[in-house]
């Protein structure tokens, strides 16, 4: 291990890229933001592993990829680490074929875990992965759920076990790592205050006026307009250039049926109540 790194962890579609956008604008300092140049290494970026291992990871089997992920981080620092957190959707769990969770514990200096009401998550998750709402609810309850796995072709990312929404959240909270939990809803309601918490956790505190400028540069309406005008390379093949949605809180009250909302509450009620998502 050549030094420590920090993680920006979340279940998918919970505000991770928005947070990276704000941190990128903050790092620039001049209020400019190019959505196709948002910083932050992706934890499962195949290019990083190919370069770090000096082999083609596309020649590895999924069990081998999962075993090598933490081992690789132990020997090679991610690009720009130390200055910017690594983005991950992993759960803090030991995946099949691996001997430990996906990052070397001893190298982690800070974790910021972003959580979001799963009833809003599902509304964003479904179109992103080309699922119906009901399919997305099922996926969020699946403890074996992984990204980056395809039997028939190559994914640009290595496999990552995200598990169910509840287990994802609980795994990080029970990890014993230096963890700061922030709620997406608070990032929306008090952006500057919540990003002050995030930057403090990541040891990159900034004055309030700079934070406010960065939050403004990464406003959802700007991100959406940018994406519509220029395209966004991180958007989903299932929903090209529709990555940034409304970004609002509580849309599930109109968009989910009562049966769907209660199914999510039944699947994840324990963790939801702990986080205040029981209203």
């Amino acid at each position: 291990m050549t030094g420590g790194f920090s993680l920006l962890a979340s279940y998918p579609r919970s505000g991770n890229t928005w947070a990276r956008a704000v941190l990128t604008a903050l790092a620039r300092g001049d209020g400019s933001l190019d959505i196709n140049a948002i910083e932050g290494q992706l934890a499962v970026d195949r290019f990083f592993f190919d370069d770090a291992l000096e082999i083609e990871t596309s020649d590895l089997l999924p069990d081998e990829e999962r075993r090598l992920r933490p081992i690789t981080y132990r020997s090679a620092m991610p690009t720009g680490a130390g200055t910017f957190p690594i983005k991950t959707h992993d759960a803090w769990l030991t995946a099949q074929g691996a001997a430990e969770p996906p990052f070397p514990r001893e190298g982690i200096e800070a974790v910021v875990l972003i959580v979001r009401d799963p009833r809003d998550v599902v509304l964003s998750l479904a179109p992103y992965y080309g699922l119906s709402i009901d399919e997305a609810i099922t996926a969020m309850a699946d403890r074996t759920m992984s990204l980056g796995i395809s039997r028939n072709g190559l994914r640009p990312q290595l496999p990552q076990l995200i598990s169910s929404w509840s287990d994802h959240t609980a795994s990080w909270r029970g990890s014993g790592l230096p963890l700061t939990l922030v709620r997406y809803e608070d990032m929306v309601a008090d952006s500057v205050g919540t990003f002050a918490t995030i930057t403090r956790a990541l040891k990159c505190s900034a004055p309030v006026d700079l934070l406010a400028r960065a939050v403004d540069a990464a406003r959802f309406d700007r991100l959406r307009a940018d994406e519509a005008g220029k395209g966004f390379r991180e958007s989903s093949p299932h929903a090209p250039n529709r990555f940034f949605g409304a970004g609002t809180v509580g849309r599930w009250r109109q968009a989910l049926t009562a049966a769907q909302a209660s199914r999510i509450l039944r699947d994840h009620g324990t963790v939801m109540r702990e986080l205040g998502y029981d209203g």
């Binding site: 028939n152 190559l154 395209g231 390379r233 958007s235 989903s236 093949p237």
Partner: protein, 317 residues
Amino acid sequence: MSAERTAMESEAAGDLYLCGWRLRSALPLPELAPWTGDDRQPDLTIRTGSIPARLDGARDVSPLLQVTPEKQARLSIDGVATYWLRNAGEVIIAPQMADDSPDIRTFLFGTILGLLCHSRGLFPLHASSVRIGDRAIAISGMSGAGKSTLAAALTRRGHALISDDVCAIDPAAPGGPVVLPAFPRVKLWDDSLAAIGIESAGLTANRLGQRKFYFRFNEAGSFQATPAPLKAIYLLASSNAPLAGRSEIETLAPTLRIIGLHAQIYRKRTAAIWGLEPELFKALGRIAGPVDVYRLTRTAHLDDLAAMVGRIEAHAA
């Protein structure tokens, strides 16, 4: 005496061609074309044997790879094989599977081939290449960008395959950079095979249980067996979604050519440890001068494959 000579002659009769080298191998390498050149001694010998756990003076480039300042390397793939590049003319392999397992060749024709290129003064670009007309084009990019798929589709259209994934360039050839042919085989995933119209049943798997396969072109004329002058390099940039202001094939300015090609030097971290960076930069200059370098932006969708192939054909003609 005569029995010994017969054995040597029969060994020589089984010699193979790889990147201009005469290769003699104790392991079966059915992907390679036979040696049809002069009666020189083998340039490269592949043997099986035991390999020390630690090479003298080695440093770890990665958890899988040790290298020494004398340009030796030891690659270890658990459950498959250990590989020892002992010098520029000798590779020792300690298989952990049956000698004829394709898994062993997957890493031999990957990292080990790239390191052999570095140790023998060739420039290995992360690219697949085909001959269009009488000159070579290289399609370069990271894993998953579509190199092999495009090269295979172009070969199916009647252009000759030169190499897949590792493109060995001799930057100092008289008359300009040439591509040295590797072998008439590409590696393709199920989805690419389907897009090209090749049935995967009966194909050799790249790894046991993996839906990525070896596909060997056996038709006459589908493999370019002699060095071909390099005309153009297409650097693949993939995007999940269409990006505005990005035409599909763009000419790159000189500095972007160098940066783009440098990023695609195959196994460049080991080459740097071997002290080869000055040579590589010299080679980059020699290549980026006469060879056209373009950026080719494409989505990951395979349904635009035929259109993309047509565009490259028209552009490279």
